[in-house]
């Protein structure tokens, strides 16, 4: 028993007190900022492994970006990745970072469905479905619940059964073989329900976009409530995105 207390004591405080303001260590690649300095925009766009960069004026689609940072290394005067991890949004268009526009990415409160804040603002249970995900974003979603990030304190938790869930979190580019299980799982969730796409692979297919091994038809049929970019998604990106989704419209 005493050993247990000793161990507890030795851990110190591990939780992040304020997840909205925490600083992430190191040279984390979060929201990019694109300057207006002139570059060979064709060469810049050519560089990107997933076609996330468009030229003239230059923009980066965060739903396609793998955050490899190659563009910033090759064109440091043009592109700089900041440590801003709050990059989740509810509108697909907001995922596009444009040249000369250095503003935070946030959710548009007016586009949040009314029932989300009505039913889920104090408690949100999510069912995660990995559909061809490489297990990196899945790993970080697990980390959301650990003692450091402790998402459970906000009433947001992952549950085992879709019947207990208020929404679905999809990771991965949606492989053909997972298309049907994904649909069945979504249909098993009671109404009202939300859909969150977590990670570059889920939002656009990432490096796998356009492959015949995928079947992304499911996404055509429903409204997506939250896009969480990242490769993988950082836990703080996910937690802040979800908190904004359930609390912002009031």
């Amino acid at each position: 028993m005493l050993d247990n207390f000793k161990i507890l004591l030795h851990q110190g405080k591990q939780y992040i007190p304020d997840v909205t303001k925490a600083q992430v260590p190191g040279n984390f690649r979060g929201r990019p900022v694109i300057s207006t300095s002139p570059v060979d925009s064709h060469a810049l766009a050519e560089l990107c492994p997933t076609g996330a960069i468009s030229g003239d004026p230059v923009s980066i689609h965060l739903g396609k970006c793998t955050f490899c940072g190659e563009c910033a290394f090759s064109f440091p005067e043009k592109i700089c990745f900041t440590r801003d991890y709050r990059i989740a949004t509810n509108l697909r268009n907001e995922l596009i970072v444009r040249e000369g526009v250095d503003v935070p990415i946030r959710l548009n409160p007016d586009a949040i469905r009314e029932e989300i804040s009505k039913y889920f603002s104090g408690s949100l249970k999510l069912r995660q479905v990995c559909a061809g995900g490489d297990s990196s974003t899945e790993w970080e979603l697990n980390a959301c619940g650990n003692v450091n990030f402790d998402m459970g304190r906000f009433g947001v938790e992952f549950v085992a059964s879709p019947r207990h869930a208020d929404g679905i979190v999809i990771t991965g580019p949606i492989s053909e073989n997972m298309a049907e299980p994904l649909r069945i799982c979504y249909e098993a969730i009671p109404e009202p329900k939300i859909i969150i796409l977590a990670g570059t692979d889920a939002i656009s297919g990432g490096i796998f976009a356009g492959r015949p091994s995928l079947n992304r038809g499911f996404l055509q049929n429903y409204k997506i409530d939250l896009y969480v970019p990242g490769n993988p998604v950082h836990p703080l990106t996910f937690i802040n995105g979800v908190l904004d989704l359930i609390r912002k419209r009031k």
Binding site: D134, S136, N146, S175
Partner: protein, 499 residues
């Protein structure tokens, strides 16, 4: 000679691999595997002229060599005698050949589809109507689990045949994660695209798979990575091992409802992966390993940070592990649960942790060294009981071993070379192989180039490819309630298998 011996990360002309008559090819490779220190690291085929070229790679662990041989067969040539009937370790390889090329075998025990690849020959076979193994008996019942599991993990289907609470048989069906990695690696031409794909083979083995890719690519291009690059890559590989092993210790505690261990090991993983973020901007090291160089050279201040980190991490891990090990309620769940015997592990060609916890000395870092392991004497940690406890204990000891290596390497950080030439073009008409001991075990990548030096075929093998069968064998005669802890103690990759 009817085979050619090469070493890890070596490139040879494809025509130097002897082409044998299929029966001789089979006989010779099966014979080579009669020696306990040999195992098959890869056996695969690709379209060649009007048929299929089969390449078999048998590693000899004491001689540090890989024996290559090949055979060319026609797709309309009728059924072949199988390797699997003589050596079970080939079961997955031959199921893959049957699925992808429509090959048939006279004596393969069961050619059930492997992963329902998008480019399989028979599109009428779908994952939704998979032929599960059945036993008709009024005393037995079936339990189906998945593809979607209770936690945040990857999909796969487990079909149990149970006698009461006891598992009689487990059939594991995978393929849900199939994304077509191998053909994508060929069709995308830019090195950055390819390394990005390699990083996505298994997102929990980013360093392992991207290292196998760059080692292979640099070998094809005749590029010799400078010392500081070797250091940062090998160090990253060992840090990945430590981080995932720590997370696995947490997950094992979670599955036996040991809350303190779950929380403490869970938070102990955080400084390790946050260090990766400090170093390269990504907690899972995506972006760190690149062909011919790195944007994130390892330096003295990072070394100092890592030293301090390990000073705090190691005693905390040991304290928690010792406490956990002293609890009878924990030990009762781990000991003698999910046993893989040495004979079973050897028969299925198990690799990595599964081999080493069943008494088999099999570790690429020792047998076919790469990176800094070419000058670091590596003594693999071997456990003998093959149970969940062995797999838990092995992780703790491998963490300590990797930390020791890291400290040793940190003492001497090489000065970055002032100038290194970028890798050139890959050799034409060549074959190259790359083996890396990732945290799960042996990763094997093979590539073949055409006459213009473009990739003709790329083959990826994750250690899970061999080891999934070990899970099925381990749970027999266990209670079905012990399945989660058994499965977690292996922690195999679904996407690494499905590709």
């Amino acid at each position: 000679m009817n085979r050619i011996s090469i070493s890890n990360n070596q490139t040879i002309p494809l025509r130097d691999i002897p082409v044998l008559d299929y029966d001789d090819f089979l006989e010779m490779n099966i014979k080579m595997l009669e020696r306990a220190e040999s195992h098959c690291v890869n056996y695969y085929g690709f379209r060649w002229k009007h048929g299929i070229k089969l390449i078999c790679c048998i590693a000899h662990d004491r001689e540090h060599s890989i024996h290559l041989s090949s055979a060319e067969i026609s797709t309309h040539g009728g059924a072949l005698p199988s390797f699997t009937a003589r050596n079970l370790a080939f079961q997955g390889f031959e199921r893959e050949l049957a699925e992808n090329f429509g090959l048939s075998y006279t004596d393969h025990p069961w050619l059930k589809p492997l992963r329902y690849a998008f480019n399989r020959t028979d599109r009428s076979k779908t994952i939704a109507n998979h032929p599960f193994y059945r036993i008709d008996s009024e005393e037995l019942h079936e339990v189906g689990v998945g593809p979607i599991h209770a936690g945040i993990i990857e999909p796969g289907h487990f079909r149990f045949i149970c006698n009461g609470e006891q598992i009689l048989h487990l059939d594991i069906q995978l393929g849900y994660q199939h994304r077509g990695i191998e053909s994508l690696l060929v069709s995308r031409k830019k090195p950055l695209e390819r390394v990005t794909i390699a990083e996505s083979i298994a997102g929990d083995t980013v360093v392992g798979h991207s290292l196998a890719f760059v080692n292979l690519w640099e070998s094809l291009c005749g590029f010799d990575p400078p010392e500081e690059l070797q250091l940062s890559r090998t160090l990253a590989l060992e840090l990945e091992r430590m981080a995932i092993h720590t997370g696995d210790l947490s997950a094992i505690c979670t599955d036996i409802a040991y809350q303190l261990g779950s929380a403490v090991f869970g938070r102990l993983r955080t400084p390790l992966i946050n260090f990766m973020q400090e170093w390269c901007g990504n907690r899972l090291a995506k972006g760190l390993i690149r062909v011919g160089g790195s944007h994130f050279p390892f330096n003295g201040s990072l070394a100092q940070r890592l030293g301090h980190l390990l000073d705090a991490y190691e005693p905390a891990l040991t304290e928690m592990f010792d406490e956990m090990k002293s609890l009878p309620t924990v030990l009762a769940r781990l000991e003698k649960t999910g046993v893989v015997t040495r004979e079973q592990a050897a028969s299925i060609g198990a690799v990595g942790m599964v081999a080493r916890t069943s008494g088999i000395d099999r570790d690429i870092r020792e047998s076919h060294p790469f990176g800094l392991f070419r000058r670091t004497v590596h003594q693999p940690i071997i456990k003998h009981h093959g149970d969940v406890y062995s797999r838990t204990q092995l992780r703790k000891e491998e963490i300590a071993q990797s930390a020791r290596y890291a400290r040793e390497w940190l003492r001497n950080i090489p000065v970055p070379a002032t100038r290194t030439d970028a890798p050139g073009r890959p050799a034409a008409g060549a074959f190259a192989i790359s083996l890396v001991e990732g945290w799960r075990g042996e990763i094997c990548h093979c590539a073949v180039t055409d006459d213009a030096g473009e990739l003709l075929h790329y083959k990826v093998k994750d250690p899970s490819f061999h080891n999934w069968l070990a899970v099925a064998l381990a749970v027999r005669n266990n209670e079905i309630s012990d399945f989660p802890i058994c499965n977690k103690s292996f922690n195999l990759s679904y996407c690494g298998h499905d590709l």
